[in-house]
């Protein structure tokens, strides 16, 4: 998943959680990048017609941006489900975050053929838990790293 898709996914999840445009600071926190880096990428997403930024309010995804964000979220769900259901990985959230930048949507589609993903995906994704809610594991919300 490329960097732009990771931003789109983060903005989408924050918008869902807050029911409002995503504050740039929140996006930067979620991606563990500086606010300056977040601003720069948000500008690029605006140029590509994927997001709209309104001063003092935050960033919202356009319809095209939402489609891309949901695809990215689906890829992330596939990686998580694959790690849990096929490879039996305990720290799957941590590993999924490490792997998402290297696993492309095309590759995820192939992995998807062996994981029994639910039809409601990617709406199954719980941003509080940072995990697919349909997974057959017990989870608690993770604490911030610092």
């Amino acid at each position: 998943m490329n960097t732009a898709n990771q931003y789109l996914k983060a903005i989408y999840l924050i918008q869902q959680q807050d029911n409002n445009p995503a504050a740039t600071g929140r996006v930067a926190d979620m991606l563990d990048v500086s606010p300056a880096s977040a601003n720069e990428m948000i500008g690029k997403l605006e140029d590509r017609g994927l997001a709209e930024h309104e001063k003092y309010k935050g960033v919202s995804l356009t319809d095209d941006g939402i489609v891309r964000a949901r695809d990215a979220l689906q890829t992330y769900c596939i990686i998580e489900r694959f790690l849990v259901n096929v490879l039996d990985v305990e720290n799957f959230r941590e590993e999924a975050r490490e792997l998402e930048s290297v696993i492309d949507g095309t590759v995820a589609e192939r992995l998807d053929t062996i994981i029994d993903r639910k039809p409601e995906c990617p709406d199954c994704f719980d941003p509080e838990l940072d995990a697919c809610a349909c997974l057959d594991v017990e989870l608690e919300a993770e604490q911030p790293a610092d």
Binding site: T3, V86, L87, E95, S101, V102, T106, V107, R110, I114
Partner: protein
């Protein structure tokens, strides 16, 4: 969340190589299943596709062994290969392509996906300064070799498809 394509540790590298093994298992299982379906029906009608699928299954088995050899050189816990093989075979036990076009298209997707995977992995390793317990040069040589063979596979299937149009 990790931004940018990078591989930073033995564990992450092993996991990615393991994903490569699963992709190869999927290719092998699908090719074998398609090959068997040809055997039952009209294998004699299409020796070219039969040879293609047989070759694809053999190549995937060989790729898997090369990936396993790389993982053995890394400092990670052992990985249950047998379980993965059983699971993938079980998933594909029931699948059957509808016709020769379906077989070829599926095979093209397999080869393209594997190529994309190795290409992204090589890029992510090249972008990283991390030191792995396996020799970096050997790691990249093996992965570039696999990528090359997948590219040849894409070309081979594309050529057969074009000839049949």
């Amino acid at each position: 969340m990790s931004l940018g394509q990078q591989v930073g540790s033995d564990r992450q590298l092993a996991r990615l190589l393991q994903i490569g093994i699963v992709l190869e298992e999927v290719v092998e299982a699908r090719a074998s299943r398609h090959y068997q379906s040809l055997a039952e029906e009209d294998r004699t009608l299409d020796a070219e596709i039969e040879a293609l699928l047989e070759g694809a299954a053999e190549e995937s088995a060989d790729h898997r062994k090369r990936l396993e050899a790389l993982i053995e050189g890394l400092t990670v816990d052992s990985i249950p290969f047998d379980e993965i093989e059983t699971l993938v075979e079980a998933r594909y036990g029931q699948t059957k392509p509808e016709d020769f076009d379906g077989v070829l298209y599926d095979q093209l997707c397999n080869e393209e996906t594997a190529y994309k995977f190795y290409d992204d992995l090589i890029e992510a390793i090249e972008a990283s300064d991390a030191e792995f317990t396996v020799d970096r040069q050997r790691l990249l040589e093996v992965l570039r070799g696999l990528r090359e063979e997948e590219r040849d596979g894409v070309e081979e299937v594309t050529q057969i498809m074009e000839e049949r149009e």
